[in-house]
Symmetry: C2
Subunit: 193 residues, 2 copies
DNA sequence: AAAATAAGGAACCGATCAGTACAATACACA
DNA sequence: TGTGTATTGTACTGATCGGTTCCTTATTTT
């Protein structure tokens, strides 16, 4: 006995993700979101409570999409050498920039922004980055050069690679020149080889 | 025959830097700045034109202070091994967090924020990061393990270390747990050793 | 067809934003 | 001690922020 939604919630979250990805959490105004999502204020607040709740939903969506696809690469048996899997992720980040995507990583942008003062957002960001870190650990287990390292040393290396990833994607967002990115990725390759 | 300023411009910029460092460019409201700098709207606008101009002045000040002191370490003959100089910078960033400073690096926060849409800020950020990069190159020249690398390879490694630095300081700002930071720094040490 | 329910949409809310205008103030010089 | 001038501080501007209210419209169930 209720009028059903004329928009699909998942589609709306996907569209909201695009807006937040481009403008960041604070940079995305409500009008930006409404236009990008194709709905009006009433519908948005009825469906998503408020901006921050929507953003948390978007972060979940981002994890189940961008992060999980990265993790899939890191755990992919199609690439036998785990170090190659890691490099696939890094070169992918580089390629995104050369192909015109300078939005970086939503998690990294959130890390530098609202994570600094909002615990829930900080927690969601940590969770996403932690998933990536675990993926890197799996990849290291499948790398001849690294498989014999202690778990602790592997974990520490994974933490370093996460920091490297965050730095790279933040540089991309800051429009640092692509040669710098290219060099950085290349050096990661040298380090892992 | 003019009434002289009752505040010192450099002091005011220093105080503004503290505010921007804590809150970021967009997160620092004019009332925040006025309170932190100890002046009123009229004085601020007369002396610094507007918020963005003030921020560019602050970035200059930051370079001449935080960045230059980092570069000084990287070029310091007191630490003969250049790799040790680099590690001093990284462990310094880690120690800052353990000592309660979670503000990260003003340049890195600006990179993830206004650099994405403002060319002047992006340029100032690139300049500061470039100075650090050059310092790292000098240090690598003084590292037995790296001094024989080609200039190109040294530069690429420096680019990677800049990305690493940005990632670390962004993690600090996002309040990622200190063990992760510690591990990442430790792994940088292993890589450079 | 009527009743119940929720989506849709627009007008509106107080708060806050960066920036401005102007009068009061304090200093330097004569 | 008066006069000119730049600084200072307050009040204000218009725009925009996130969020709410409420009426209309559409749809499902009885």
């Amino acid at each position: 006995m209720a009028r059903p939604r004329t928009f699909n919630t998942d589609d709306a979250v996907e569209k909201a993700m695009q807006v937040f990805w481009t403008h960041g959490y604070e940079g995305a105004s409500l009008p930006d979101l409404l236009e990008g999502m194709g709905l009006t204020r009433g519908s948005l607040y009825k469906a998503f409570t408020d901006k921050k709740t929507l953003f948390l939903k978007v972060l979940e969506h981002y994890e189940g999409q961008a992060v999980d696809s990265g993790v899939a690469v890191l755990e992919s048996a199609d690439i036998p050498n785990g170090a190659d899997r890691i490099m696939t992720v890094f070169t992918g980040a580089y390629r995104a920039v050369t192909e015109g995507d300078q939005r970086g990583c939503l998690l990294c942008t959130a890390a530098a922004g609202p994570s600094t003062y909002d615990d829930e957002i900080a927690h969601a960001v940590s969770k996403g980055l932690g998933a990536l870190r675990d993926g890197i650990c799996v990849a290291l287990q499948a790398s001849p050069k690294h498989e014999d390292m202690s778990d602790e040393a592997q974990g520490a290396l994974a933490d370093m690679l996460i920091a490297q990833y965050m730095g790279l994607r933040t540089m991309a967002r800051a429009r640092i020149d692509t040669n710098t990115l290219r060099n950085a990725v290349r050096s990661v390759g040298v380090m892992l080889a």
